[in-house]
């Protein structure tokens, strides 16, 4: 049985435990620790009273402050929208020209537009909007579906070959694979197409062959790309005479495009971005294009 006794040196009682002749002091819990424990306990009582806390059967105590994170976030969003409304309303109601002429609004467009672009568009078109293989460069003058602000806004809204009912639809058919043209003629058309934007590529093409290729082009390609090969925005068919390529402008890439066809896909943003967000993105792109040499 343990024998508790007072330790002569410290004045405290011992616990009565002895290990190899060493006795254990029963030092009381220090006062700061007590105060801290009491303080946190009191805090939790107050907290339980004010905040949602204890479960009670099928419901729980709601707390006197009535705080709910879902309400809080809804209020935060509303407050943020209100803080922005000073300029978002002017963007919403203004025409593209009016907004572009307003340097104050355009500063907001550049900042917010960049954020929106990076969060939503950059994974395909790149953070600098210069695109990549299969994803058009948005800083050029070459726009598949038109580069006017209204046309860009509509493309963002409905997408291309997307799930939207009003989607823009386009398809480059698999001319080679589906045997729309004899296989032996395709390399000629490839050279002809390359020559449209880069005369050097078709320089050593015999005149007769070039004429044959032109006939093939007019019979098979001109319906969408136009007689002059400058593309048709109502069909989303690219201009073949400029120096911009979506899938690459080398011989191999153009051959692959003609052989297997292409069908790009841009999602619809109508459900994901609000009208004003889409308008900001449109203005951001138009502004970006203007700044790109």
């Amino acid at each position: 049985m343990a024998v508790e006794e007072r330790d002569k040196h410290s004045g405290y009682m011992t616990t009565g435990h002895v290990w190899n002749g060493i006795k254990e002091l029963n030092t009381p819990v220090p006062r700061p620790v007590w105060l801290f424990l009491i303080g946190t306990a009191l805090f939790s009582f107050v907290y339980w009273l004010l905040m949602p806390a204890w479960p009670v059967g099928v419901t729980y105590t709601k707390g006197l402050l009535g705080i709910d994170q879902r309400t809080t976030v809804a209020e935060n969003l509303k407050a943020a929208a209100l803080a922005r409304s000073e300029w978002t309303q002017r963007i919403e109601s203004g025409s593209f020209k009016e907004i572009q002429a307003d340097p104050h609004l355009m500063t907001a467009v550049r900042q917010t537009g960049h954020r929106l672009f990076v969060d939503n568009c950059a994974v395909c078109h790149g953070t600098d909007a210069k695109g990549g293989k299969g994803y058009p460069n948005l800083t050029t003058t070459s726009w598949l579906w038109g580069g006017e602000p209204e046309q860009i806004a509509e493309t963002i809204r409905v997408g291309i070959n997307s799930a939207h009912p009003d989607t823009r639809v386009s398809q480059m058919p698999a001319v080679g694979r589906d045997q729309m043209m004899p296989g032996k003629d395709i390399p000629k058309v490839v050279r002809y197409v390359l020559g449209l934007s880069d005369p050097a590529a078709a320089k050593d093409m015999p005149a007769g062959e070039r004429e044959a290729a032109r006939t093939l082009f007019e019979a098979n390609c001109a319906a969408c790309h136009g007689e002059d090969a400058k593309g048709k925005i109502e069909m989303g068919a690219p201009d073949l005479t400029d120096r911009f390529w979506i899938y690459g402008g080398d011989q191999q890439s153009v051959l692959a495009t003609i052989w297997d066809g292409r069908q790009g896909h841009m999602p619809t943003w109508e459900a994901r971005l609000s009208p004003v967000e889409r308008k900001i993105l449109t203005l951001y792109l138009v502004d970006l294009r203007a700044k790109t040499p």
């Binding site: 949602p52 204890w54 479960p55 059967g57 099928v58 419901t59 729980y60 709601k62 009535g66 705080i67 709910d68 994170q69 879902r70 309400t71 809080t72 976030v73 809804a74 935060n76 969003l77 943020a80 969060d119 939503n120 950059a122 994974v123 395909c124 790149g126 953070t127 990549g132 293989k133 299969g134 994803y135 799930a163 790009g264 896909h265 841009m266 999602p267 459900a271 994901r272």
Partner: protein, 243 residues
């Protein structure tokens, strides 16, 4: 005041039982109400189940450890809602066993990924993320494109999910393998049966771009494209749970 404690300390079993009782209070208070409080999981009448192909994709997502870097949980915070979309509801992961909310975001949250990007983008990105996002540090998963998807055991997967409360019908379980193949073969006659079983909103496409072959890429992309789209509940204004 320490009298009880002194007596407990001297009886090992009594002390152990005491520790277990005290330590479990916290757990019980946190977990038990989830089963009793009605507001824990919202109601969503339009909630759909994963198709066999999406479920297979989900298994690949787990197998490759995607959850280690991507969360699937948009929190009720302004910046998250503004970036990713409406915050996640419990009902949206009602049929997730196990749930993949995660808490580590080396990459972005994926809870609202479905429909945000094209299938082609997902395929290119999984084959080599650097091809489309130059600054990405995500590993490449190119073999998914080359690996045929195992489908013969999908019926059993569905059955196991039904045990856990996912309302798969006998019809769905019996046709799981066929349905998985049909979902990535848009022009097949079986695709119609699939849509009949799983609803009009079912996405039937050659997800990996090659209709002739059913690969693991098909399954994973099908799964990524359904994220956040099993129900529209989160897009409707939700009354505060306090009401």
């Amino acid at each position: 005041m320490f009298g009880l404690h002194y007596r407990l300390e001297r009886k090992a079993i009594g002390l152990v039982i005491g520790i277990i009782v005290v330590a479990s209070i916290g757990g019980i208070v946190e977990i038990a109400p989830l089963f009793t409080i009605r507001q824990t999981v919202e109601e969503a009448q339009d909630m759909r189940v994963y198709t066999p192909l999406e479920l297979a994709g989900r298994d690949i997502y787990v197998r490759e450890g995607c959850y280690a870097c991507h969360s699937q949980m948009i929190r009720t915070l302004r910046d998250e809602v503004e970036r990713y979309g409406p915050y996640s509801l419990a009902v949206e992961s009602k049929y997730d066993h196990p749930m993949l909310w995660g808490s580590k975001r080396t990459g972005p949250d994926l809870a609202r990924l479905g429909g945000k990007y094209s299938d082609e983008w997902h395929v290119a990105h999984l084959i080599n993320p650097r091809d489309v996002v130059r600054q990405s540090i995500m590993p490449a998963y190119a073999w998914l494109m080359r690996t045929p998807l195992r489908t013969d055991d999908l019926g059993l997967h569905l059955k196991a999910m039904r045990r856990l409360g996912v309302p798969y019908t006998d019809d769905m379980i019996a046709n799981a393998t066929k349905d998985a193949e049909a979902q990535a073969a848009p022009d097949s006659p079986a695709a119609g049966d699939l849509v009949k079983r799983y609803g009009e909103a079912t996405q039937v496409r050659a997800f990996d771009g090659q209709p002739a072959q059913l690969t693991e890429m098909d399954a994973l992309v099908a799964y990524l494209q359904i994220l956040g789209r099993l129900t529209d509940a989160a897009h409707k204004p939700v009354a505060g749970s306090g009401g």
